[in-house]
């Protein structure tokens, strides 16, 4: 499957099937700091992702407070 990462924007090709939480663990990403989006909606951690899926892992942490 094609996985889009942000900040900086880049793409990875990951073999499926794999569950969302397993994908995040494999990429060493804290599950509470991102949303996982398939198509145009969110998917929870137990969702099985397939080779044909387009997935975005979107970070949610923003900074800049003085």
């Amino acid at each position: 499957m094609r996985v889009l990462l942000r900040n900086p924007r880049r793409e990875l090709e990951i073999a499926g099937p794999v569950r969302v939480h397993a994908l995040l663990d494999r990429l060493a990403i804290d599950r509470d700091t991102v949303l996982v989006i398939r198509g145009d909606t969110l998917v929870p951690g137990d969702t099985l992702l397939h080779d044909s899926d387009d997935v975005e892992i979107r970070p949610v942490i923003s900074g800049g407070a003085a």
């Binding site: 900040n7 804290d30 949303l35 145009d40 969110l42 929870p44 979107r58 923003s62 900074g63 003085a66």
Partner: protein, 301 residues
């Protein structure tokens, strides 16, 4: 996993609530949290004219959307910071949202209206960019709210933002800042009333709200913020939250309930000493306010 409210399949899990929600119930959850914050902290009444400070990011656009849906009279205020490759993109998200919702957007542009941008201005004034940015926002939002006759300025500070700021202020025992860290700052001595209606929502929730509501926002982080102290505090708190969900909420709301009043007298005393800036009339402790000093340094060749 089933939705806590309706038993439909979930689209998001919130570990600190030990719950998952379907799309419709999650949107209602966010609205309920904002409604509860407004009520519990007596932020503003029905019929109030609200000015929301919008950046093009997830928090401020989510806040504007929720308040519009709740029926408040709420306009947006965008401040162009002149950050190349960032500000020109962020304003597009804000304008698109305002157009889609038929909402009123007020725009101020630092380079066009004040003659400096954040990267060059902060350098000239020898300030950290985030500090110059925060100072400019506070000053210009206050002024716009007072001149526009708004009852209250609402900002998109969320639970993570507030917990990180509290963490930093406690680490340094910055008592003057601790006294000001409230979900509501009342109007006084030239300051408009300021509120933070997202204080009960984590930033993962405001981001999810935007995705589920189809709100496009600027995902890319501000290039000036990279590596700043605030992000370090968030990372430390997130590590604790991962071990014990609910830690950030308990830290922040425990402070509001049990400790914030200890620091209030210092702020009240400081506010009594404020007088109008000789340059612009904004409240200040010195002769010239911090924004006028920044403006002077940033625009002096």
């Amino acid at each position: 996993m089933k939705c806590r409210r309706c038993r439909a399949p979930v689209v998001i899990e919130i570990r600190r609530h030990n719950a998952g929600f379907c799309s419709d119930c999650f949107v209602r959850h966010c609205q309920d949290q904002v409604r509860k914050a407004i009520h519990d902290f007596a932020m503003f009444e029905e019929g109030a004219r609200v000015l929301v400070a919008v950046s093009g990011g997830k928090d401020s656009l989510a806040l504007w959307d929720v308040l519009l849906d709740m029926g408040y009279e709420v306009d947006g205020l965008y401040l162009g910071l002149g950050i190349e490759g960032y500000s020109d993109e962020s304003v597009v998200y804000v304008r698109d949202f305002a157009a889609r919702r038929g909402a009123t957007l007020v725009e101020i542009d630092l380079p066009a209206d004040y003659g400096f941008d954040i990267p060059n201005g902060s350098r000239a004034a020898r300030r950290v960019p985030c500090s110059a940015c925060g100072l400019s926002k506070r000053h210009l939002f206050d002024r716009a709210a007072l001149e526009g006759g708004y009852d209250v300025v609402a900002t998109g500070h969320n639970l993570d933002d507030e917990a990180a700021v509290l963490f930093g202020n406690v680490l340094r025992w910055s008592t003057e800042y601790l006294g000001r860290q409230q979900p509501v700052l009342p109007a006084a001595n030239g300051f408009p009333r300021k509120v933070k209606p997202l204080v009960r929502l984590a930033e993962r929730e405001t981001a999810a709200y935007c995705v589920l509501r189809g709100i496009d926002y600027q995902v890319e982080e501000c290039p000036m913020a990279e590596g700043n102290r605030h992000l370090g505090y968030k990372a430390a708190l997130n590590a604790m939250e991962a071990q014990s969900p609910g830690t950030k909420h308990a830290f922040l709301f425990g402070y509001f309930e049990r400790a914030s009043k200890l620091f209030a007298p210092e702020v009240a005393a400081e506010r009594e000493e404020l007088h109008p800036c000789s340059g612009c009339g904004a409240p200040t402790l010195g002769e010239i306010c911090a924004f006028c000093r920044l403006l002077d340094r940033a625009t002096t060749p």
